[in-house]
Each structure stands twice: as structure tokens, then as C-alpha cells.
Symmetry: C2
Subunit: 205 residues, 2 copies
């Protein structure tokens, strides 16, 4: 006497949803029942958006971000400053930087981070293509925006060495205490670095 | 300088996912990027499962549960006891009862609960069809398994009155302290009811 689904279609849809990360069978059921309550067009759109995305999306040949076309919308946008390249680990990090609305340059997606423990070396990442991009000229500044971890620091250093021969400014995003953090709860490494890397107080926050 | 998606297909897929309840844009992005990493067949299956479900699923004409066919798999299963009908509010409740693996009868899905505050009266629910089902004969027991709320009690009472003329046993699921609960943290109404409705101790748990 096992749990029985009244409908195989329902069982299949719940099964597919529960394959997603962080979604168990209960949540999957909730989502499927929600979709059943929507109108047909909305559900068709949902299904099609996913299938079409997987079928048609490719990687931008300039920055290796996801793209519908040979060159992605960000690289292709004439309003964006192509001379400032922000180096990130993944597509998700591009979205995180975009969400800040503080950056108007372009990106370079490494597709990972140097991590000997996971067997990921420089040749597995889009580092050579970054060097080529700088070599080709037109890039004035490379901003390293990787995670503040051992692997991130290693990757930063590797890229720094690789780009050293070229006339390009290399910067790294600021590390320090988070906005809203209280000093007494900040770990000593972060606090120590934020003292060493203090900036001039200008009255603006 | 708004947040810019590098790909319209990506933006569309994230948008569709974030329409689901409890899924914000960050989670949507995580799910979409996960799907992009899977192979094509898996993603096609996912999209098709949803579209097909919505297009083809119907309601069982006997119990009003979701079904692929005129009569659902539970009603159609000869191993299940069709003389015991468990009355529940929704499809989700059917799955909850099924998950207990303690019930081998069939269901009747009301599609809601009597709630004057929300403008839901008996005629909006599948109560008349329940009466017809009992009237047609073959049902020995109706188990009322609705929520233990004011609305649930009202609906129980309404159904009880409607079924009174017929020769059918009407029972209600036990209410009492939850398994694993400590007495001191149980609310007094539940505790009071569990004392009034005490059962004979047989040594079995």
C-alpha cells in the first residue's frame, strides 16, 4: 500500500520538479498544483521558455557569458564601457554585479576558479582568452571580482602575473566590513584588512 | 544603468520561474542555471511534463481528484476498498493521506471548504456529488478528514446533516496531541479534547 498518485501526468510533473536543487516532493507538488490553477497560455509559456532556453542559448564569444547570439547583449551594448573588463567566476556573479547597478563596463566570465583540490587548473578556465582580449588592445582596466577565498586569491594572482606584460590597470574589488555590520561581530582577518586598506574619508558614504 | 541580462532567453526563463509561489528572482536564476547544466533530454522532459500535464489532466468524475482519464488511478484500482470514502478538501490532502500509507479506501475531493468569509458556500463544493455517491449505494463509511478549524467543523457538520438520511457510517479523523508532543506545550483546547475523546489503552501504540 504505497503512496499512490491519482494521475501519472501529475506524478511525472512532480518528479521533474523535484529533480531541481532545493526542491523536495512537497514543494514540487505545491508548484505543480499552482501551475494547474493558471491559464493554459501561462503554463505553455513556462514550459517553452525552459525548452527554448536550453536549445538556443550559447556562450558569448567575447566574454563567455550566456547569450542568444554570437555576442551577448552586454558586450553588444554601445552604451557600456568596453575598456573596463570585470572578471568574474560565473554567470551568476555577472547578475550579482549587474544587480548593484554600479558597473557600466563589460565582463569576462572565467567559468570557474583555480582550485587544485577540485582538479581545476588555469587551462580549464577562460584565462587565456582574457589575455588575448587584453593583448588585442582597447582594455584600460581589468577589475578582478572573484570570491574572497584562497582559490579566489590564487586566481587573482595568476591573472595578475599573466597580464603583467601588458599596459593595463589591474584592480581588485574592495574587501572590508559589510555595510551595516557591527565592528564587534566582524572577524579579525576582515577587520584587519579593512584597517590596512582604509580609504580617505571624503564625507560621502 | 539597470540590471542587464546578457540573454533575453535567460531573462524570459528566469521571469517564468519567478512567477511561481515562493520563488524569487535569485532562486529562479539558480534553478535556470541548474537546468542549463543538465543534458538536453532532461530539460525537454521537464518542459514537456509541465505543458502536457496542464493540457491533458482532468478531474476524476467519481472523486474529483486530478486524473489522466475519466476515472482516476485510485478510484480505478481494484485493490482499493471502494466502500470507504475519505472526504478531503484538496488534491494536496489526498497526497498527504496517501503518504501515511494507512488508508486503503477511496477519496472524495470537495475542492474547498465552507467559508462564508471567503464567500464559499456548500454549492461551490462537491458536496452534492458526495451525497449522490452515497445515495447510489456501496459506500459503507464516510471518513471526514478536513482541517481542524472552524471552517472544517462547519463543513463536517453540513455533510453530516446531508448524509443523515442514508445508511452510512460517518466518522471523523482523530484529533488529539501530536505524536512526539510534550503535554506542557500542548494548547488547552487540544489537550481538553484529547482527554474527552480518550481511547481504551490496549498496549499497542
Amino acid at each position: 500500500m504505497n503512496q499512490q498518485y491519482p494521475s501519472l501526468l501529475l506524478e511525472r510533473a512532480v518528479g521533474e520538479f523535484s529533480k531541481l536543487p532545493g526542491i523536495g516532493r512537497k514543494t514540487a507538488m505545491r508548484l505543480v498544483l499552482h501551475l494547474l490553477k493558471q491559464d493554459d497560455a501561462m503554463v505553455e509559456n513556462f514550459g517553452n521558455a525552459i525548452v527554448t532556453l536550453k536549445r538556443e542559448v550559447k556562450y558569448c564569444k567575447v566574454c563567455h557569458n550566456l547569450s542568444d547570439t554570437e555576442v551577448c547583449l552586454i558586450c553588444d551594448n554601445p552604451k557600456r564601457d568596453a575598456s573596463t573588463v570585470c572578471v568574474v567566476e560565473s554567470v551568476r556573479d555577472v547578475m550579482a554585479v549587474e544587480a548593484t547597478q554600479q558597473f557600466n563596463g563589460v565582463y569576462h566570465v572565467l567559468g570557474g576558479i583555480i582550485s587544485p583540490m577540485d582538479g581545476i587548473g588555469p587551462s580549464d578556465l577562460e584565462i587565456e582568452s582574457l589575455v588575448e582580449r587584453v593583448k588585442a588592445g582597447g582594455v584600460k582596466e581589468v577589475i578582478l571580482a572573484l570570491s574572497s577565498t584562497m582559490e579566489g586569491d590564487t586566481t587573482n594572482f595568476y591573472i595578475f602575473r599573466k597580464l603583467a606584460p601588458y599596459d593595463v590597470k589591474i584592480s581588485v574589488i574592495a574587501r572590508g566590513i559589510s555595510i551595516g555590520d557591527e565592528l564587534q561581530y566582524t572577524d579579525e582577518v576582515t577587520l584587519g584588512r579593512s584597517i590596512v586598506n582604509r580609504t580617505l574619508f571624503t564625507g560621502n558614504v
